[in-house]
């Protein structure tokens, strides 16, 4: 955090700032010393903020026209598409926006995994981020139910039925979640209510996420601690704002490509068939961003086991900062871990792919291998590699050349402090 005291220039500004230091906050955000070597993988935080705001704004407008009732929901979505001015644009931005949001969040998470951004002293940022990710999945799942198409209905049925795997009270919990004896109108109503609530919870957590980030400051591709402010840092504005703006615009071009030219390619055609409790679709598949977890769920022959592993796949990420035993943050200086990192990326992509395929034959085998490897990466690879690996020499500072003959981050930090 920047140390200097901010004093507003105008008298009115000073008067206000003494009572509510919003101007100090603004000055802090503007001056915030940021490592100058951040690459474009670091622009996704800003992109994600844009995604959240886009979803909230388009969502509020959609909610003005949408009707959360099992008999009317599908028709009200068609009303939005046909009769509301630019309704098609708002809905396509919202539905594709969800996918773009997840695309960005996955890049953001994998960036953190590569550069060790979850490691001390940034564990709390990481954990808040995971809470945001969990809420995003809940919001996206419930949002997908709202158009009340076939995939909405059957997706909701499959996911809510997972809770029936809980011993003894499972069925009661499922009925309680449904508000009925199957997915029905009460389910749709509460999903709409929660779908409207969750984004604001996310917004609150985003504030905490950024607050927690501003305490230690950004990690960076080299992964070393840097002195702030120093010649290793630049003020957030204009350097990072303009770079984030550029990256955001490139992102928006891709976003617009989906919205205007292939708005339905990421969805499932069955969701344009109104929900019908009597007809089960041939393959029930969730949206692409949930597929790796769906693959894990289906790879276990036992229902309860599948549910535990699926949730475990996410919750294991919460203890990641303590599973990773390496002293070095950035994978740039970790030749062995770097290999395992890319294998892990491939593993998750493969799980996503088999999640979209029927759970049989070669796909089931791949899903099982992928699931085992997913957990092995965290439980075996991360702790063991961290202890055994001989890391490459890391530089003393972003501006300084590599410190030769050793990978002692503490030494690098000590030297750096004297600069």
């Amino acid at each position: 955090m920047s140390e200097h005291e901010y004093v507003p220039k105008s008298k009115a500004g000073k008067w206000f700032n003494d009572r509510l230091p919003l101007l100090t906050l603004g000055a802090h955000l503007t001056d915030y010393p940021t490592p100058k070597n951040l690459n474009y993988w670091w622009t996704f935080g800003g992109i994600l903020t844009f995604c959240l705001i886009t979803q909230i704004v388009t969502g509020i407008v959609l909610a003005m026209h949408y009707v959360a009732h099992a008999d009317l929901a599908f028709a009200s979505v068609e009303h939005i598409m046909r009769d509301v001015n630019y309704g098609w644009l708002i809905r396509y931005i919202h539905s594709n926006g969800a996918s773009m949001f997840f695309l960005a969040v996955y890049i953001h998470i994998f960036r953190s995994l590569f550069y060790g951004s979850y490691k001390s002293p940034r564990e709390v940022i990481w954990i808040i981020g995971l809470m945001i990710y969990l809420l995003m999945m809940a919001a996206a799942f419930m949002g997908y139910v709202l158009p009340w198409g076939q995939m909405s209905f059957w997706g909701a049925t499959v996911i809510t039925n997972l809770f029936s795997a809980i011993p003894l009270v499972g069925d009661s919990i499922t009925t309680w979640l449904w508000g009925a004896y199957s997915v029905d109108n009460p389910t749709l109503n509460r999903f709409f209510s929660l779908h409207y609530l969750i984004p604001f919870l996310i917004l609150g957590l985003v504030v905490l996420h950024i607050w927690a980030l501003h305490v230690p400051g950004n990690n960076n591709p080299v992964g070393i601690d840097i002195k702030k402010p120093s010649k290793d840092t630049v003020p957030f504005h204009p350097y990072i704002t303009i770079k984030d703006a550029f990256a955001l615009l490139v992102f928006m071009i891709i976003f617009a490509g989906f919205v205007f030219f292939t708005p339905n390619v990421l969805g499932h055609s069955d969701n344009y068939i109104p929900a019908n409790p009597l007809v089960t679709p041939a393959h029930i598949v969730p949206e692409w961003y949930l597929l790796p977890f769906y693959a894990i769920l289906r790879s276990v022959p036992d229902k309860l086991g599948g549910v535990i592993l699926m949730f475990g796949a996410i919750f294991i990420l919460f203890v990641l900062p303590w599973l990773d035993t390496s002293k070095v943050r950035s994978a740039v200086f970790r030749p062995i871990y770097r290999q395992f990192y890319w294998i892990f990326v491939l593993d998750v992509l493969m799980l996503g792919y088999v999640g979209a395929m029927p759970a049989e034959g070669i796909y089931l085998v791949l899903a099982r291998v992928g699931t085992i490897y997913y957990f092995a990466h965290f439980i075996i690879v991360m702790p063991v590699v961290g202890l055994l690996e001989k890391t490459d020499p890391i530089p003393m500072s972003i501006s300084e050349p590599v410190l030769t003959g050793g990978a002692e981050p503490s030494l690098a930090r000590k030297v750096n402090d004297k600069v």
Partner: protein, 260 residues
């Protein structure tokens, strides 16, 4: 290093995707038609939309509803663009139930452009009962509701064949090359010369199938032309703005010794 890893990712995915045919071996891919509404600047063929509406009205509409469309849509830009008089005449040719009136009675009146397309059956159950237990799906968003979209709809319409030896069909079930499972309860309703096109186009089965599919594609995505037009403008605008921001970024970052 990163380049090598990217190659590994790409190769692994090619390998995975090459596994695909195992799953979809029994499905016949739909015929690929070069629709005028494909592509970044695709638009509908106005004449084809008008002919397609005629096929829908004279053939499909006796069983299939299109409940999310209104008659006024037929005159709106980007659609068949019938004139105002034509739209009024089309609407007026249908008897629409309205009410209750001040006496509490339902009554019928000639349709208005603001009315929704009249459905052939009062409800899904009636439609199902009248069609041998198979509900003729509402066609408002049918093109978006089928994998393969317009190509699939067209293929099914021209895909009727005699069943191959060994396949026996129940009464009221027909063989179709492109239908999932090859069995369809809709009979082959199209035959050459079935409708008399107002514009003199020869009404072959292929022509009618293409026209009605074009009409259904518009019905599912009435915003398509506006979407394509706006999309081109938005992308051009974004590219220009991105260029300007990129140049500004280069200028600002030239003050520090780091590349962006």
């Amino acid at each position: 290093m990163i380049k090598f890893n990217l190659k590994l990712i790409v190769l692994s995915f090619l390998l995975l995707f090459s596994l695909r045919p195992i799953q979809s071996a029994e499905m016949v891919d739909p015929i690929k038609v070069d629709w005028s509404f494909k592509g970044l600047t695709g638009t509908f063929d106005r004449a084809s939309l008008q002919r397609g509406f005629q096929v829908y009205k004279e053939v499909c509409a006796s069983c299939h509803s299109m409940q999310y469309l209104s008659y006024r849509n037929l005159g709106e830009p980007g659609g068949p663009e019938f004139s105002e008089q034509e739209v009024k005449a089309i609407a007026a040719s249908f008897e629409i139930e309205d009410g209750p009136d001040s006496q509490g009675e339902m009554f019928t009146r000639p349709g208005k452009p603001s009315d929704k397309f009249k459905s052939p059956y009062p409800n899904v159950q009636a439609a199902t009962a009248a069609n041998g237990g198979a509900y003729p799906p509402d066609m408002s968003v049918l093109v978006k509701a089928r994998k393969g979209g317009a190509n699939y709809i067209y293929s099914v319409l021209v895909g009727y064949e005699d069943p191959p030896p060994g396949v026996t069909l129940d009464d009221g079930v027909y063989y179709n090359k492109y239908m999932a499972g090859n069995k369809i309860k809709m009979p082959n309703n199209l035959m050459d010369g079935l409708v008399e096109y107002a514009d003199g186009t020869e009404s072959t089965v292929d022509q009618m199938a293409k026209d009605v599919t074009t009409f259904l594609a518009w019905a599912a995505e009435p915003e398509l032309e506006e979407r394509h037009r706006t999309g081109v403008k938005v992308i051009i605008y974004l590219i220009l703005l991105t260029t300007l921001v990129y140049l500004s970024m280069k200028k600002i970052w030239s003050r520090v010794d780091t590349e962006v």
